[in-house]
């Protein structure tokens, strides 16, 4: 608990100043922003992409995009909300960019054994889900998105998002039996 409070305090420490400095091109300030947020962004990217290598690429892409788009951040919304939205979009884009032609037909090669050793319970079984069902499940159940928002992000109908969510839920429940 004390550790969690410490992390929270660190994450809120001087953030507006860091953002202002980073906007002016201060890489040291941007590095501090990275250090505060990269674990959250990585978790999001890992759950969306389902693969360690892709999650690393997506996280890097997120922060490079953040650096480029930071001057557009006017502080109307919370930085964390803005970064979250940017990260989800970037993770989905990275997934699209790296997805090979054949991967649409063949399941992605995920080293499930390695993932099982490395990650917590839910993440061990999330990677076994089909891609679209996994993304919908992550965004809806873990990130609090609405089906309409997921539909817009993924270019699918909200009804399809609901169906994918129920499919994911059913598959995960079967894995836990």
């Amino acid at each position: 608990m004390t550790a969690q409070i410490k992390v929270l305090q660190q994450s809120s420490f001087n953030e507006p100043d860091l953002i202002d400095s980073a906007k002016k091109g201060d890489k040291a300030a941007f590095k501090q922003l990275y250090q505060q947020h990269h674990q959250r962004v990585y978790a999001l990217c890992f759950r969306i992409t389902g693969q360690v290598a892709l999650a690393e690429d997506a996280t890097q892409d997120c922060f490079v995009t953040l650096w480029q788009k930071l001057p557009q951040f006017k502080g109307q919304s919370q930085f964390t909300t803005w970064l979250h939205s940017l990260s989800v979009n970037q993770a989905l884009n990275s997934l699209k960019k790296h997805r090979s032609f054949w991967s649409r037909f063949v399941a992605a090669e995920t080293d499930i054994a390695a993932v099982q050793d490395e990650y917590e319970d839910l993440d061990k079984i999330l990677v076994k889900l089909p891609e679209r069902a996994r993304i919908v499940f992550v965004l809806y159940a873990l990130e609090g998105y609405k089906h309409e928002e997921i539909g817009q992000l993924m270019g699918i109908a909200s009804g399809t998002s609901k169906a994918q969510y129920h499919r994911a839920q059913k598959l995960l429940a079967q894995m836990l039996e």
């Binding site: 990275y34 990585y42 650096w67 109307q76 909300t81 803005w82 989800v88 159940a141 429940a173 039996e177």
Partner: protein, 176 residues
């Protein structure tokens, strides 16, 4: 609720919000920070580039033809009625553009897809201006007229297509 569904609910509740990557990602990120922003080549960019190349090619041909004719023709310097028509059409087009911009519902120029489209429109406008200036000197050139009208029509089409681009929503999902 079955046992497995119950267990799934528990797993969702206790799922960590953060994860540590297996290796440090900062050094790779830092290397990419100095690179200029990468704009993905897309359909609109290709259309814009193709349009400009086409316009330059046609303009060059037309200009060359005109130079050949200059020595033979005695230019009619008097104000032609065509020049009035030229100016009328230009004014009409500018009004249409202004009307479209007034009825603009979303700031599509700020979107990722809007940027190349905006560049395409800008290039079309430059080309249209060049053609207009050439037409003022030689208003009887039929091919040049057709080209000028095409650039104006294309500009209106691109503006209309820009308005159909999706708007970017800012507030989605949870906090980090």
């Amino acid at each position: 609720m079955s046992h497995s569904e119950d267990k799934l609910e528990q797993l969702i509740t206790k799922a960590p919000k953060t994860m540590s990557p297996e290796r440090s990602l900062w050094s790779d990120i830092e290397k990419q920070l100095d690179k200029p922003e990468f704009i993905q080549p897309n359909h609109w960019r290709r259309v814009a580039v193709a349009s400009v190349v086409f316009l330059v090619a046609v303009l060059s041909t037309v200009m060359w033809d005109r130079q050949q004719l200059v020595s033979i023709e005695t230019a009619q310097v008097e104000v032609s009625p065509l020049l009035n028509t030229l100016n009328d059409i230009r004014t009409q087009h500018q009004q249409q553009v202004a009307l479209l911009q007034q009825s603009q519902k979303v700031n599509w120029q700020a979107t990722e897809k809007g940027l190349p489209l905006e560049k395409g429109i800008e290039q079309l406008r430059k080309a249209a201006l060049q053609i207009f200036e050439t037409l003022q000197k030689s208003p009887n050139d039929k091919q040049l007229w057709q080209l000028w009208l095409w650039t104006q029509q294309r500009e209106l089409e691109l503006l209309q297509q820009g308005q159909q681009l999706p708007a970017v929503t800012q507030h989605q999902g949870a906090l980090i």
